[in-house]
C-alpha cells in the first residue's frame, strides 16, 4: 500500500499540484485560468485515446444493423453471444475502446480533487499539507496562497450554477459521443437514454458537493469533448434540434461496416456484405473504398431517417 501511496503522490498529485501552481503564476495569478489550461493540456495528451473512443463509437454505429440481425437470427443466448463475439473479432472491434479515455480521466479527476483541496483548502488545516508537496522553487513556494476567485466562482467552494453547467455540458457531450441504437425499443436504446440523463445528473449532483475548481475542470473537459466530437463526426451529423431530445445524437449507420482505418486493432477485415472492406491493397484503393463506404453509409442513414419520419 505504501508504494501505491508513493506513486499516487509522487507521480500524480505532487506534479499536478506544482504544475497547476506554475500555470497559475504564469497566467496572471489566476487559478481558474490555470485549471482551464491544465484541462486542455490533459485533453491534448489523451487525445489519441479520445480518437480511439470516437472510432469505437463509429464502429458501434456501423455494427448496429448486423448486431440486430444477429439478435433476430439467433434466439439461443449462447449462440447469439458467440456470433456477436465472432463479429467483433472480424471487424476488430474492442468494446473497451470507449471506456479507456474515461478510465484514464478517473485518477486524474480524483487527483485533481486532492490537488484543489490541498491548494485552495476551505478549511485552514487542509493548507497544512501543501508545503510538503511543493518543489523547492521560489516561483512555486512564493505563489501560495492561490487566488481562488474566478469569474463568479470561489474555486474552493461548491457552486450551484456551475453544477448546472456541468450537467448541461456532460449531457451534450454524451449526446455527441453515444451511438443511437437502430431500434429505439431495444434494451440498448433504453440504456443509452438512461445514461444520457443519469450521468449528467450524477455529475451535477456531485459538483454541488465538491470545490468548484473541479467542476470547472469538468465543464472544460466536456466542452473539449463536444468540440472534438463535432469536428470528428462532422457538421452533417449535428442538428441543433437533436440537442433537445432524449436520444443520442449519432444515428446508426445501417449499411456501413466499420471503417477499417477507424479500427484500433489489426484483426482481419469484416467479411460478407462489404466487398470494399475486403483487403484493399494500396492507399488509393483504400481511400476510394472508404469514400464509397461513407457515401453508402450516409445514403443508408438518410434512407433510414426518411423511412422513420
Amino acid at each position: 500500500m505504501e508504494i501505491i501511496g508513493f506513486i499516487w503522490n509522487e507521480v500524480l498529485v505532487n506534479p499536478m499540484t506544482n504544475f497547476l501552481i506554475i500555470l497559475s503564476n504564469v497566467l496572471f495569478d489566476n487559478y481558474g485560468l490555470a485549471i482551464i489550461a491544465f484541462t486542455i493540456v490533459i485533453r491534448l495528451i489523451t487525445y489519441p485515446l479520445t480518437l480511439r473512443q470516437f472510432r469505437t463509437t463509429r464502429a458501434m454505429q456501423a455494427m448496429q444493423p448486423r448486431l440486430q440481425e444477429i439478435q433476430k437470427k439467433y434466439k439461443d443466448p449462447r449462440r447469439r453471444q458467440q456470433e456477436m463475439m465472432k463479429m467483433y473479432r472480424e471487424v476488430g472491434f474492442n468494446p473497451l475502446g470507449c471506456a479507456v479515455p474515461l478510465l484514464i480521466q478517473m485518477p486524474i479527476w480524483i487527483a485533481l480533487f486532492r490537488v484543489i483541496r490541498n491548494t485552495l483548502s476551505d478549511a485552514p488545516e487542509e493548507l497544512f499539507g501543501l508545503s510538503s508537496r511543493l518543489y523547492d522553487w521560489s516561483f512555486i513556494t512564493g505563489a501560495v496562497p492561490l487566488n481562488r476567485d474566478f469569474l463568479f466562482l470561489d474555486l474552493g467552494s461548491p457552486s450551484l450554477p456551475l453544477a448546472i453547467l456541468v450537467g448541461l455540458t456532460t449531457f451534450v457531450q454524451q449526446k455527441l459521443s453515444t451511438a443511437r441504437a437502430i431500434s429505439p425499443s431495444d434494451r440498448s436504446a433504453s440504456m443509452n437514454r438512461t445514461m444520457l440523463w443519469m450521468m449528467p445528473l450524477m455529475f451535477a449532483f456531485f459538483t454541488v458537493s465538491v470545490p468548484s475548481g473541479l467542476g470547472l475542470y469538468w465543464v472544460v473537459t466536456s466542452l473539449f469533448g463536444i468540440v472534438a466530437a463535432y469536428i470528428y463526426n462532422g457538421p452533417e451529423n449535428f442538428r441543433w434540434r437533436d440537442l433537445f431530445t432524449m436520444e443520442p445524437m449519432l444515428a446508426p449507420r445501417p449499411a456501413a461496416a466499420p471503417d477499417r482505418q477507424d479500427q484500433p486493432s489489426d484483426t482481419e477485415e469484416p467479411a460478407g456484405e462489404e466487398p470494399a472492406a475486403q483487403a484493399p491493397d494500396g492507399p488509393t484503393r483504400k481511400r476510394r473504398s472508404r469514400r464509397r463506404r461513407r457515401r453508402r453509409a450516409d445514403a443508408a442513414q438518410r434512407d433510414a431517417e426518411q423511412s422513420k419520419d
Binding site: M85, Y88, C98, A99, D122, P124, T141, P145, M202
Partner: protein, 415 residues
C-alpha cells in the same frame, strides 16, 4: 458481463466514471474544519459560590467548553452552544450553529471571553461562568483569527477581507471597518504602540500583505508585502513586528514605517507564532526546525537549528529549570520536545506514543517552571496534560483517568 457488450458498450464504459463521485465521497467531501483554538486558563471563577480555576477550550471540535481540570469526571461546567438547550445558550435568542473554532478565546475584561465562529462568522461574548452570552458582531463570513480585545473594544479580522472595530458595550454599530485588506486573515492581529502614529493594529493577511491600521480610526499607516502568504499570528515586541511567512522566511519589521529590519530563511513555511524573550526570537517551521535569532540583528543564537523531526504550528513555551530556560515545542504529530534555550540542544523528548492525533493549537502552560505541566488540545478537541520529564500524557478531557488526574493550574494537584 460480455452480454453487456452485445447490447451496447457505452453504459458499461461510463460505469467506472460514475464511481468517481462515490470515491470522492469516500475521500472525504465536506467540511474538514476541525479548528485550532488554544485552551485558556481563567483562575478563580466563582461558580455556585465556589471559586474554581477553569480551562476554557474548544471541546470536541464544535463547541467552546469550560472544565475544571482537576475534576476527574471530565464533566463540562458549561458548553457553548448548549446541546441540552437545542444548541441555544442563555441570553441568545437564536440557535448557535456548531462548528470549528480557530481563534483562541480572548478575555474581555474580567468576566467575558470573545470567540469567533468558523461556520457562520459570528463573534460572541460568553460570560466566563457560563451564565449567559451575547452576540457582538455578525461578519456573515468566517472568523479564523483570534479576536483582539483592548479595553472594551474588539478588533475582528475576517475571511472576507475586513477588519472591524466594535465597542463591545455598544455592539450595534461598529466603530470603524477597514475593507481594503488584500486577502482573508488567518493570523491573529497584534496591537502595537507607534511613537508617530499612536496605537496600531497589525493585521497579517493570508496573501502575505501586512497592514498597519490606526486603532483610532482604522486608517492604514503602512503595508508590507512578504514573499508569500502569512498564516501565523503577528507578534510585537520592542517596536518590532516578528512574523513568519509561507515563503520560508521569518521577518522582523519596524513598527513605525513597515520596513524590513531583517529576515532569515527557514527550511519550510513558518506557521508558528514567534516567542520573544530577553532579546531572542524563537520560532519553528513546518520542517520541524526550531530557530533562535537575536531580535535586534537576526543573528543566530544557536550553532544550528534544533530538529524536532515534524511540522510545528503550535507556539513554543519557555519554562524555567533552575538557571536554565527550557523551550518546549509540540509537533503536529504530538511529540513534545524540551530544548535548552541557550544552546539549542535537546533536554527531553516525550517518550509516549499514545497521542495518535494532530496538534495545531498553541499549548497552555499552567506554570512557569519546568515542574508545571502544560495543556495541549488536539484536532479532535481532546485535552491532554504533559509535563517535561514525565513519561505519560494525561487526558483531561473527555476521559480523564481517576488514577492520573490532571494537575491544578497553581502547580499543586497530583504532579
Amino acid at each position: 458481463m460480455s452480454h453487456w457488450f452485445h447490447v451496447k458498450h457505452s453504459p458499461l464504459a461510463v460505469l467506472p466514471l460514475l464511481l468517481v463521485p462515490l470515491l470522492l465521497a469516500a475521500c472525504g467531501i465536506g467540511d474538514n474544519a476541525d479548528g485550532w483554538a488554544a485552551p485558556l486558563l481563567v483562575p478563580d471563577v466563582v461558580i455556585d459560590e465556589r471559586e474554581r480555576d477553569l480551562i476554557i477550550f474548544a471541546a470536541g471540535r464544535d463547541r467552546i467548553a469550560a472544565i475544571d481540570p482537576t475534576d476527574s469526571t471530565g464533566e463540562l461546567i458549561w458548553e457553548f452552544p448548549d446541546p441540552a438547550r437545542d444548541n441555544r445558550f442563555r441570553g441568545l435568542d437564536e440557535e448557535v450553529p456548531t462548528g470549528a473554532f480557530y481563534g483562541d478565546p480572548t478575555l474581555l475584561g474580567q468576566d467575558e471571553i470573545l470567540v469567533g465562529t468558523w461556520s457562520d462568522g459570528k463573534v460572541y461574548a460568553i460570560r466566563i461562568d457560563g451564565s449567559s452570552a451575547r452576540l457582538i458582531f455578525d461578519t456573515a463570513d468566517s472568523v479564523v483569527a483570534s479576536v483582539v480585545a483592548d479595553d472594551r473594544v474588539a478588533y475582528i479580522a475576517t475571511t472576507d477581507k475586513r477588519v472591524i472595530a466594535v465597542d463591545t458595550d455598544n455592539p450595534e454599530e461598529d466603530l470603524w471597518t477597514f475593507d481594503d485588506l488584500a486577502n482573508e486573515v488567518w493570523g491573529t492581529p497584534a496591537l502595537a504602540q507607534s511613537r508617530e502614529h499612536g496605537q496600531l493594529l497589525i493585521v497579517p493577511a493570508l496573501d502575505g500583505t501586512i497592514h498597519a491600521l490606526r486603532t483610532a480610526d482604522g486608517g492604514e499607516v503602512w503595508r508590507f508585502q512578504a514573499g508569500a502568504g502569512i498564516g501565523s499570528d503577528a507578534v510585537v515586541a520592542d517596536g518590532r513586528l516578528f512574523i513568519g511567512s509561507f515563503d520560508r522566511r521569518f521577518y522582523a519589521i519596524d513598527i513605525e514605517d513597515g520596513t524590513e529590519i531583517w529576515s532569515r530563511e527557514g527550511r519550510d513555511w513558518f506557521w508558528t507564532s514567534a516567542l520573544i524573550r530577553d532579546g531572542t526570537v524563537y520560532a519553528a517551521d513546518l520542517a520541524g526546525s526550531v530557530w533562535a535569532w537575536d531580535a535586534a540583528t537576526g543573528d543566530e543564537r544557536w550553532a544550528e537549528p534544533y530538529d524536532a523531526g515534524g511540522a510545528i504550528r503550535a507556539r513554543p513555551l519557555l519554562m524555567a529549570d533552575g538557571e536554565m530556560l527550557v523551550l518546549v515545542v509540540m509537533t503536529r504529530a504530538g511529540k513534545a520536545h524540551a530544548i535548552d534555550s541557550g544552546r539549542g540542544t535537546e533536554v527531553w523528548v516525550s517518550p509516549f506514543e499514545e497521542l495518535d492525533s494532530l496538534f495545531y493549537a498553541n499549548p497552555l502552560a499552567l506554570g512557569t517552571s519546568i515542574g508545571s505541566p502544560f495543556l495541549v488540545a488536539n484536532e479532535a478537541g481532546e485535552l491532554y496534560e504533559i509535563q517535561v520529564n514525565r513519561d505519560d500524557a494525561r487526558e483531561c478531557f473527555p476521559d480523564p483517568k481517576p488514577a492520573q488526574p490532571c494537575t491544578a493550574p497553581d502547580g499543586g494537584g497530583s504532579a
